[in-house]
């Protein structure tokens, strides 16, 4: 439904987006990740037709954003970063304006606004000026505006940024509910969000795509994937280390960050918990903690994005 073809954007000598291509199908929620200044927002602005690309294009529901901008824009719902809206309007007037622009009149406009207001829960602020609304409500008004016309492609730039935990939960519920019928792209720098709602993640840094996989696959790239935390009462850390490192499937043993026991890293990400349990039983260690770690997305993210930065810095 959404196809990005070789998007490139130069700002003077700076290459903000460098040959980015991907496709998103119906039912997919794509997490678009990257450090600040990686080119996330610029890519979204090119997809939605706000920024003209230096080369390449995006195709939305078969409409090229450069050749048929109006048809393409009709298929997109877009929540902008920070959800700007006309401050002196009320949500009621603002949504009516957007409904009219999108071609809904009279009863149809009312029906659509009524339905979205119910889904997004903004009924109690409909007649207050947007400028006095809290961040959470403002964000919701932005989402209501983006979903009013039930678009097949939804693009959300940092939808939960600045929201409290309850509001975040609510936003994820909304995304989850609409997922089956839409192609959704979410830009974020919150990794928990990717794990919570995304079926796929793309990591971008310096304008290039560095990884494109499911969140689980990405986590598997972590050194911590299948690592085991082990602690035993009365057994010193040095003793544990000395015994554990002898096992052939163990690559490294480190003191755990919180000081309780050790972290055992497997060779090639293999499953080692059964072997460790056997070893502990053989030594009759009074085990107090034995836990398999899942691999942490934030570590993978840092490894991937900083590895990309290193050669660039060396070249400069």
């Amino acid at each position: 439904m959404l196809e990005i073809r070789h998007l490139v954007k130069h700002f003077g000598a700076l290459v903000a987006v460098d040959d980015v291509s991907f496709a998103v199908a119906r039912g997919e929620v794509l997490g678009f990740l990257g450090p600040s200044g990686a080119g996330k927002s610029t890519t979204m602005k090119m997809i939605t037709g706000f920024v003209p690309p230096s080369s390449g294009t995006s195709v939305i529901c078969g409409y090229d954003i450069l050749r048929a901008p109006l048809a393409a824009k009709r298929c997109i719902g877009y929540l902008l970063e920070g959800a700007p809206a006309y401050p002196d309007m009320t949500p009621a007037a603002f949504l009516e304006f957007v409904a009219h622009i999108r071609g809904f009149r009279g009863r149809e406009a009312k029906r659509r606004i009524g339905r979205i207001v119910e889904t997004i829960h903004i009924a109690d602020v409909m007649h207050q000026p947007i400028e006095i609304l809290s961040k959470g409500y403002r964000r919701r008004v932005g989402v209501a505006q983006a979903l009013l016309h039930d678009p097949p492609v939804v693009i959300l730039d940092e939808p939960t940024d600045g929201l409290d935990p309850n509001q975040k939960y609510e936003m994820r519920r909304i995304i989850d509910e609409m997922r089956p019928n839409k192609a959704i792209v979410i830009s974020t720098h919150l990794l928990e969000e990717v794990e919570a709602v995304c079926s796929r993640a793309i990591i971008i840094a310096h304008g290039r795509i560095l990884a494109d996989a499911t969140p689980a696959e990405l986590a598997r790239r972590s050194r911590r994937h299948n690592a085991v935390r082990l602690a035993a009462a009365g057994i010193s850390e040095a003793r544990l280390r000395a015994e554990l490192i002898r096992l052939p499937m163990v690559a490294a043993v480190e003191a755990a960050p919180d000081g309780e026991g050790v972290s055992v890293f497997p060779r090639d990400g293999q499953d080692i918990v059964a072997d460790l349990a056997d070893l502990a039983r053989a030594h009759r260690w009074p085990v107090t903690l034995l836990r398999v770690e899942q691999g942490r997305l934030d570590e993978v993210f840092r490894e991937i994005t900083t590895a990309a930065a290193a050669p660039a810095a060396a070249a400069a």
Binding site: K45, G49, D88, M89, H100, I101
Partner: protein, 244 residues
């Protein structure tokens, strides 16, 4: 066309959502009145016409029209709503037209609220109402041309103060172009075509031509073409400079 009407309604309502509209209208009416009565000597000259009222419009607009046009695009740029606005399924030309027409309509509302002058002069004597109608038309056309210049300037900045100052300077050039002082400074060294062009380009010149009571299509065409040219430039600038 529907999009233009929707944008027009939102923009016009936007003027009245803040005190701006009321402040503008009050200042416009007070200034117009003061200039007419005190500077223009409306009563003292003993003639039943509105010439002293209209004579000051170019100079009144010089200050007030940039105040009206400065927020058209600069405000959208500053608050970031320009991205929201231009990613809606509308053409840039529709956006430009809707905004301009709302500002022009607002100027028309302010101008039409000066109707007590018209009534007063009809009570006091027997004015040529045709001349007055033509003068109102001229004043509104000139306001439109100035607003188009202002909209175009507003499109390239996110700073309303800059938009105001640059618009005021441009409008001043257009207004003063045909004035005797300018022609005097030019004559003697500048080529004749520049003097002619200067006279032809003058807002004040075309304005006073119509206020004499002759609605010459060339004068009307001049104002309309200034509007079309600057709005066209406005649309191009928006497309080029969307993301600054």
């Amino acid at each position: 066309m529907r999009a233009v009407a929707t944008i027009f309604r939102r923009e016009l309502a936007g003027y009245f959502a803040t005190p701006l509209a009321y402040v503008f209208i009050v200042i416009f009416l007070v200034m117009a009145g003061m200039l007419t009565f005190f500077v223009g000597n409306f009563f003292g000259r003993g003639q039943a016409d509105l010439e002293p009222f209209f004579a000051f419009h170019p100079w009144l607009y010089l200050v007030l029209i940039p105040a009206l046009s400065m927020r058209l695009w600069a405000e959208e740029r500053r608050s970031g709503t320009i991205e929201l606005f231009l990613t809606l399924p509308i053409r840039t030309t529709e956006a430009v037209a809707g905004k301009f027409l709302a500002a022009w309509c607002f100027a028309g509302i302010a101008l039409s609220l000066t109707f007590p002058f018209w009534i007063t002069v009809n009570i006091l004597g027997r004015p040529d109402n045709g001349v007055i109608a033509a003068s109102y038309l001229a004043s509104w056309l000139m306001a439109g041309a100035m607003l188009a210049v202002g909209a175009c300037v507003s499109a390239v900045t996110k700073n309303q103060v800059i938009a105001f100052v640059v618009t005021a300077a441009l409008v001043f050039l257009f207004t003063a172009a045909g004035a005797p002082a300018v022609l005097g400074a030019l004559s003697g060294w500048a080529p004749q075509w520049l003097l002619d062009a200067s006279v032809q380009m003058s807002f004040a010149g075309h304005f006073s031509a119509i206020t004499r009571g002759v609605v010459d299509l060339r004068d009307v065409f001049y104002f309309v073409s200034v509007m079309v040219a600057f709005l066209f430039a406005n649309a191009i600038l928006i497309d080029l400079e969307k993301a600054e």
